[in-house]
């Protein structure tokens, strides 16, 4: 057991010093998730709106209430400025996407029947300007309509017709059937790609075990381990588990980073996510060792493994959504399919029974590959096998 632990520890030390490997296995999936998740994301990001309300008249409370309501919606985030010039500065600096300055005589103007006007400052993003404009215009047009109604119908009648201006429903997004729900199921684009690339790179992490064994066999260190009195099985297992630790680190970093930085909702059932990651890494290790036992050298192993993992990711829809429908069920022969669908089910919290069935199939894949790997392992580790 000590030999196992010693080998695991030193494998981890070695991996911690392989910066390029860490960048590829941890940095690259984070970048791909960001790029693909953002590219296919149809969610509108809230526009940050700086508001300075200088009005001290009768309408002040109504205006404040209006912006509070607006901020409660998904499209506007309100930041209160201390002066009109601060609003302008924030917009200029890009601190906010849009600025609104409400003049001090706004209530007076309205009460005297003049057209309601706010000073607005558009920012650099057109879609955010549109969202903010929609909110501002909804208020002003309602107020102007009220003024007109008062002037024509008299105060009492106008009050009957018009309600207080509200930010609700100022922006309505309709789904025409080709949005997120159609392509990515119940997950968002970033959730979909987070699951797909976590799985793909966990499988690559599994290849690290096979490469470590081949490297050590070729350099003679494995041979040296074999000539010492500790159990060779334990030291070999230590090398493999070292790669398993790398996969664990990979999974933790990807899940934590995407949760906090990309706002990916993983569904909160982290023990099930850990199980899926464990089974995927085990399947990857099994696949890597099996390929290495036939390939016999590092380059061939890397090439074959990359082709297989890349193909599995493609067939399971990890690169192009909707491909599953075109491949006639071939996606179900991939590890990625079962791992990704179970992860997505955990993310959305729907279909728990189905999720466990998918995890069961994934476990079966992992078990079969591990059994083959154990049988073929001597071909990888023994110099004379």
């Amino acid at each position: 057991m000590r030999a196992w632990w010693t080998t695991v520890y030193y494998e981890c030390v070695k991996y911690s010093r392989m910066r390029s490997l860490l960048v590829i296995l941890i940095g690259l999936p984070l970048l791909l998730i960001l790029l693909l998740g953002s590219a296919f994301n149809t969610d509108i990001k809230p526009a940050k709106v700086a508001v300075f309300n200088a009005d001290h008249g009768n309408m002040r409370d109504g205006i404040t209430l209006f912006w509070e309501e607006a901020a409660a919606g998904p499209y506007i985030k309100v930041l209160q400025a201390k002066s009109a010039s601060e609003v302008q500065d924030w917009v200029r600096e890009g601190t906010v996407d849009y600025g609104v300055s409400i003049p001090s005589d706004f209530s007076l103007q309205v009460e005297t029947g003049k057209a309601a006007e706010w000073l607005t400052y558009a920012g650099r993003y057109e879609e955010k300007n549109i969202a903010a404009d929609a909110v501002v215009n909804r208020y002003l047009s309602t107020v102007n309509l009220q003024i007109a109604a008062v002037q024509i119908l008299g105060v009492m009648n106008a009050g009957d017709i018009l309600k207080e201006p509200s930010a609700e429903d100022s922006i309505v997004v309709h789904n025409l059937g080709m949005g997120d729900s159609e392509i990515f199921g119940e997950t968002s684009a970033i959730q979909y790609y987070s699951a797909a690339y976590l799985i793909m790179f966990l499988l690559y992490g599994g290849m690290a075990a096979a490469i470590a064994l081949i490297n050590q066999r070729e350099s003679g260190t494995l041979q040296r381990m074999y000539t010492n009195p500790s159990s060779f099985r334990m030291t070999t297992l230590g090398v493999i588990c070292g790669s398993g630790m790398l996969a664990a680190l990979q999974a933790i970093v990807i899940v934590v980073f995407t949760s906090f930085v990309y706002d990916v909702n993983w569904g909160g059932q982290y023990e099930i996510i850990a199980l899926i990651c464990f089974l995927t890494a085990a399947a990857g290790i099994g696949l890597g060792i099996t390929i290495a036992s036939f390939a016999q050298n590092k380059k061939t192993t890397q090439t074959f493994f990359s082709i297989i993992v890349f193909s599995m990711t493609f067939l399971s829809g990890g690169m192009m959504t909707g491909i599953e429908k075109m491949v006639g069920g071939a996606n179900k022969l991939t590890i990625n399919h079962w791992a990704s669908t179970s992860l997505r089910a955990v993310m959305t919290g729907t279909g728990q029974t189905e999720a466990w069935q998918e995890i069961g199939v994934l476990a079966l894949f992992a078990l079969c590959l591990l059994i083959i790997a154990i049988i073929r392992l001597p071909k990888v580790v023994k110099p004379h096998a």
């Binding site: 010693t6 260190t221 000539t227 009195p229």
Partner: protein, 346 residues
């Protein structure tokens, strides 16, 4: 590694033997006398026999040189001895323990310096030695002391925190040795430890081998460099086609082959009678003439006894001797004569 350190190892090993009930487990009377004993060892790959009924012993404290052309069975024999390969037949005993029945006990007593640089580039020199030391079960202060000792022995203590990627080829070779000696093995197997390094590092390694031997370790040394084997080995075994074709000290090998030394006489004139008399001498193996008969090369069996006779014959015929050169046979020529090949033959 201090001599005091090796006094300690003797005590350590003695106590270990006692606790393991060595007298009950050791095999054979001869094993008590030799540290390593190959007994009818055979290694077959399908129909190919790589090692063919190999029999030889290595005594404690020897530096045993194992020579042979490529494919002679050297590496296979070393791999069987270190437990990397299982013999197809026969057995190898190390310190009385069978590699077949008690491989762990054998492995405890062996330190293998493989031909490859079996070190981790990503770990520092100290971490490399510490890793392998831990696999030998060393822990705590003993581990630290032994790691320092091994690094100091190979002259890398000051570079302990550096990674091998910053080392020269010779320094890597020395680290390769440090990883095999920190547990103070009784038997150190060195498989071509000086391949591809500069002369200075080679000398350092050869000195290390002598020092290890003086400190009590038995060494098995294989090399393609005859001069190294000649310089450090107390006994030499020559393998060819899986068989040990000769074994002994350098002088014993010379006697086995019957190859004598060469005496080169440079004279001022020649004489037919003198040549006849020299060639009829019973100790003469071969006589060659060159430089218009002014240079005679005599290959003789035992030069000390016949040199005087030959000088007398030359003087008797009134011929002046200008120069006399004595050339002893080297291992290269012995090897060539025994195997029909040079060591570097493919």
């Amino acid at each position: 590694m201090s001599p005091r350190g090796y006094d300690f190892i003797d005590l350590f090993q003695a106590s270990e033997k006692h606790t393991m009930g060595l007298s009950e487990t050791k095999q054979g009377v001869e094993a008590e006398m030799s540290l390593v004993a190959f007994r009818e060892v055979v290694k077959k790959y399908d129909t190919t026999i790589t090692v063919n009924h190999l029999n030889f012993s290595i005594g404690e404290g020897e530096i045993f040189g194992l020579l042979g052309p490529n494919g002679a069975g050297k590496s296979t024999s070393i791999h069987m001895l270190s437990g990397l390969l299982a013999p197809s037949g026969g057995d190898i005993l190390v310190d009385g323990y069978s590699i077949r029945k008690q491989p762990i006990e054998v492995k405890k007593r062996i330190g293998l310096v493989p031909q490859e640089l079996a070190i981790y580039e990503m770990l520092t020199a100290r971490e490399n030695v510490t890793f392998f030391a831990k696999l030998y079960g060393l822990r705590g202060s003993l581990l630290r002391d032994r790691v320092d000792e091994a690094l100091q022995f190979v002259g890398l203590l000051e570079k302990a925190k550096d990674k091998p990627s910053t080392f020269s080829g010779g320094m890597k070779r020395r680290l390769n040795i440090a990883c095999a000696i920190m547990h103070r093995p009784k038997l150190i197997i060195m498989d071509e430890p000086t391949v591809g390094i500069d002369p200075q590092s080679r000398n350092h390694i050869l000195e290390s081998v002598r020092s290890l031997n003086k400190l009590g370790s038995t060494v098995i040394y294989t090399s393609h460099y005859m001069e190294e084997v000649e310089a450090i080995c107390t006994r030499i075994g020559i393998l060819d086609q899986g068989k040990l074709i000769a074994c002994g000290t350098k002088d014993e090998l010379k006697r086995q082959v019957g190859q004598g030394e060469k005496l080169i006489f440079e004279i001022d004139r020649n004489s037919v009678d003198m040549l006849r008399e020299i060639s009829e001498h019973p100790g003469m193996q071969q006589l060659d003439e060159s430089d218009l008969g002014l240079k005679l090369t005599a290959t003789v069996k035992e030069s000390p006894s016949i040199l005087q006779d030959l000088l007398f014959i030359i003087q008797k015929h009134g011929i002046n001797l200008r120069k006399l050169t004595r050339v002893e046979p080297n291992l290269e020529s012995l090897f060539l004569q025994m195997t029909g090949r040079t060591l570097r033959d493919e």
